[in-house]
């Protein structure tokens, strides 16, 4: 950088101007080239993305904590204001849940005996990795989250990510210390699901701002609003049975599903370390688990 004062007119001095213009055009072309490259060679770009995200993770982690603290504080105040009402609601819900617990226990016992009868091989159990959301780039056209855990903790590409309410999305990029989750509302998201009552398999496709809809439903399935949608486990990386959402409308626009998760309030999520990268071997009937890499 020279120290002599620059006035506007120097910028358009011919020789310097030409070089600057050349560099500038070069950079624009390089940017367009990057776009094409990321379309053509997604793996390389993902690695670059993961490295850069790793580098920024400590900063984002630290920067997102103050905001979270402030919001927790605000939530606390709201909660204090409504304590009595909340208490009554919780008591009612508690009684209802105790009833459900009894039903669930009965069903569990029945399930176990039926499995025994059929010699059904159970799913390998899943491990969970808790992660904090440090980047919530809910931009206009991309629905993804940045988490502060990466391959060091065992996160792998393709794993399911859940919160307390249900399925959040799928891991698409993994760095050493960070990972990116594609939310199920993103336009590129495709999740194999099953509609609980009919056991019909379909693909849940995101539509960005609008609720996601189901694709590839078998012809002739009857779906009613209110049906539960859960993951089907096809493809192997997702455990089956994760709750996704509820059908809210069936019509010309297709079958629209409202996800259970409130995507605006995610702070901690869990990454499901399930099938160890391979589809479950149903025919063997064994439940041996290989150690994760």
């Amino acid at each position: 950088m020279q120290e002599h004062p620059r006035s506007i007119y120097r910028i358009v001095a011919p020789a310097k101007g030409f070089v600057h213009r050349f560099l500038y055009m070069g950079l624009v072309l390089a940017a367009l080239g990057l776009m094409l490259l990321s379309k053509a060679d997604a793996v390389l770009m993902e690695r670059v993305r993961a490295q850069v995200a790793d580098a920024f993770t400590p900063i984002l982690d630290a920067a997102s904590r103050p905001m979270a603290t402030v919001l927790n504080f605000v939530d606390e105040i709201h909660a204090l204001a409504a304590v009595r009402e909340a208490n009554e609601k919780l008591l009612i819900e508690n009684t209802r849940l105790l009833q459900w617990q009894a039903v669930a226990r009965k069903l569990e016992a029945e399930n176990a005996s039926l499995r025994g009868l059929l010699k059904f091989s159970p799913e390998p159990s899943a491990k969970f990795i808790t992660a904090r959301v440090i980047g919530d780039a809910e931009r206009v056209f991309v629905k993804s989250l940045l988490l502060n855990t990466g391959s060091i903790e065992g996160v792998r590409k393709g794993q399911a990510v859940i919160s307390g309410d249900g399925l959040v999305g799928r891991v698409v990029d993994v760095g050493a210390r960070s990972s990116r989750v594609l939310l199920l509302q993103d336009i590129n998201s495709r999740i194999p699901v099953v509609v609980a009552s009919t056991r019909a398999r379909a693909i849940l496709a995101g539509k960005n701002r609008q609720p996601p809809h189901l694709l590839r439903l078998p012809a002739g399935t009857v779906i009613t609003p209110g049906d539960l949608v859960t993951t089907s486990g096809h493809g192997g990386a997702f455990p089956p049975g994760l709750s996704v959402g509820r059908v809210i409308s069936v019509g010309k626009a297709g079958v629209i599903v409202q996800p259970y998760v409130k995507f605006d309030h995610l702070e901690y999520v869990r990454v499901v370390d399930f099938s160890l990268g391979k589809a479950p071997q149903r025919s063997t009937g064994k439940t041996d688990r290989k150690p994760t890499q």
Binding site: Y24, V48, F56, A63, D264
Partner: protein
């Protein structure tokens, strides 16, 4: 010898602040805010910064710095790499070529021009991402982001101006 070295160091530090500030704004734009529905209307902070520095101190934010910022924004927000790089570079080039026009104009003119620039940038964003995904995306949410971006511009411009006057005074 020594005073000249520290002086040079001081100057380098000051000159790198436009780039540094833009990166900070980038990070602020990505931090989760947990406000329902707000995520979509996060104002496009790096755009405001690039516009501002392109008008006032383009020599401190050269084209390659704008490129790096665009790529960083793409990486951290999950967009296809290169989209924001193209947009920011085009804005930077456009503003630079019209810099003569901006000399001595009032703030309102600058704001109006920024609104124009932001609308162009939003449209380009929509177009590029639609092309990359090979589908037509819904543009109506862009409009709200455009509104918050244009609305917040005076605040950010004021902050950047104060910074400029305090730390980058030597012409």
């Amino acid at each position: 010898m020594k005073p000249a070295f520290w002086h040079k160091l001081d100057l380098w530090a000051r000159w790198s602040t436009p780039f540094g500030l833009t990166v900070v704004l980038l990070i602020v734009g990505v931090i989760p805010l947990h406000v329902p529905g707000f995520g979509v209307v996060v104002p496009w902070l790096p755009l405001m910064a690039v516009y501002h520095w392109a008008i006032y101190r383009p020599e401190l934010l050269p084209a390659y710095a704008v490129f790096i910022i665009g790529v960083l924004e793409d990486i951290l927000s999950g967009l296809p790499i290169g989209v924001n790089a193209v947009i920011f570079l085009l804005i930077y080039g456009g503003v630079l070529s019209q810099r003569r026009f901006f000399v001595g104009k009032s703030f309102n003119i600058l704001w109006l021009c920024f609104a124009l620039v932001a609308s162009g940038a939003s449209a380009a964003n929509w177009l590029l991402v639609s092309l990359w995904n090979a589908t037509m995306l819904m543009p109506h949410t862009l409009f709200f982001q455009f509104l918050t971006t244009v609305g917040l511009y005076p605040v950010l411009a004021w902050i950047l101006m104060r910074w400029q006057h305090t730390f980058l005074r030597e012409e």
